[in-house]
Amino acid sequence: MSTTPSYWHLFRNGIFGENPVFRLALSLCPAVAVTSGLKNGFLMGIAVLFVQTMANVTTSLLRKFIHPKVRIPSYMFIIATWVTVTDLGMAAYARDVYAQMGLYIKLIVAFAIILSRSELFASKNKVTPSFFDGLGMGVGFLLALVIIGFFRELLGKGSLWGYPIIDTKPLLIMILPAGGFFAMGILMGFFNWIDIKFFGGKGASGAGGSHG
């Protein structure tokens, strides 16, 4: 990387420029699966935020040691270790939260976004920038899940965070997988529209350089 973007720039890149869901279109499978409700989306987002940041930092620390020919299995192992540690730690010491999130944490191992940040960013950058990149990507993912979850729960169940808001279920399809794709597609289009309308379509190249 020739220029070093500021940390703030790196952080923002994950939220806007290269939002994992709306921009990079990575990890859409879990993004559809868990966003039938606002709460599920939020909890999943928090778990991803943590693992993404830690995996990025670890990968960056070990980047000189990992042999390039076997980097993918090495990244997978780093991610799997962090997920296992998080899973066991929460099961033992935060059982209330675990009761809500336990189902989702194990899924994180297979998240494309985490592996892709290890490969594209953390393996080529120092620890601090990698930390901020992971943080930004995690927050971007979290925000995307929360926005999708908000619309799906409101339209599909007429409630938010489990509390009833309106008395009917306007569109039951919204909480089914098909509705997840509808919501995601419409929001993706909306974000692209904003980008083109107000930023001249430059948003997608955000911080730049992170494609390595």
Binding site: A33, V34, S36, G37, N40, L62, F65, I66, H67, K69, V70, P73, S74, F77, I78, A80, T81, T84, V85, L88, G89, A91, A92, Y93, R95, L103, R152, E153, G156, K157, L172, I175, L176
Partner: protein, 185 residues
């Protein structure tokens, strides 16, 4: 050749390190998790049968190939009811249900202890207005219907498979209780 040794070395060292980390965490957390789980299960049973002073395990059975337990609840040495944990085969998981009954084998209440049904859809079975339908029912009355306004168990719209799984699991459990305790009383 040199590359091969390097690759092997790199991977082996990493995997051993990761293995040590995970083993350590597992060894530290496993006992804590076990104690917490047992405590939660005991508490769940006590909550369903608040009058009992002892709840003793009476045996195990196999609903849909899973392992369930049943318990006798006693107060001052007299049996006041039964608890049984059962499973139903749902849409994407086995649904674990705990049932408490009186001595007359009528359901006092049911509770969904665990499942992995579709979040936001299948988990409607956890809601009170579904679970409450089972209260006071005996084996013969447990039947799932889709119509409204009956005294039977009404399926949640859009969640038929999970509703049916819970009903089936409960029915099997009640059959077992009847077999074990029904005749004598």
């Amino acid at each position: 050749m040199k590359d091969m040794i390097k690759i092997t070395f790199s991977l082996v060292v990493m995997f051993i390190a990761a293995g040590i980390i995970m083993t350590t965490v597992f060894a530290k957390t496993a006992p804590v998790i076990k104690v917490a789980k047992e405590k939660e299960e005991t508490e769940a049973r006590q909550k369903m049968m608040p009058d009992a002073d002892t709840i003793a395990e009476a045996g195990t059975w196999e609903p849909f190939g899973k392992r369930g337990k049943y318990f006798e609840a006693k107060k001052e040495g007299k049996t006041i009811g039964y608890l049984i944990s059962t499973y139903g085969k749902g849409y994407s998981s086995y649904i674990n249900v705990l049932i408490s009954t009186g001595k007359d084998l009528k359901i006092k209440s049911i509770n969904i202890l665990g499942h992995a049904e579709t979040p936001g859809l299948g988990d409607e079975i956890e809601k009170d207005n579904f679970k409450k339908q089972f209260d006071g029912k005996s084996l013969e009355q447990i039947e799932l219907v889709k119509a409204e306004g009956t005294d039977k168990i009404q399926a949640i719209s859009g969640v038929t498979i999970s509703s049916r799984a819970v009903t089936k699991g409960v029915k099997e459990a009640m059959k077992l209780l009847k077999e074990k305790y029904g005749v004598a009383q």
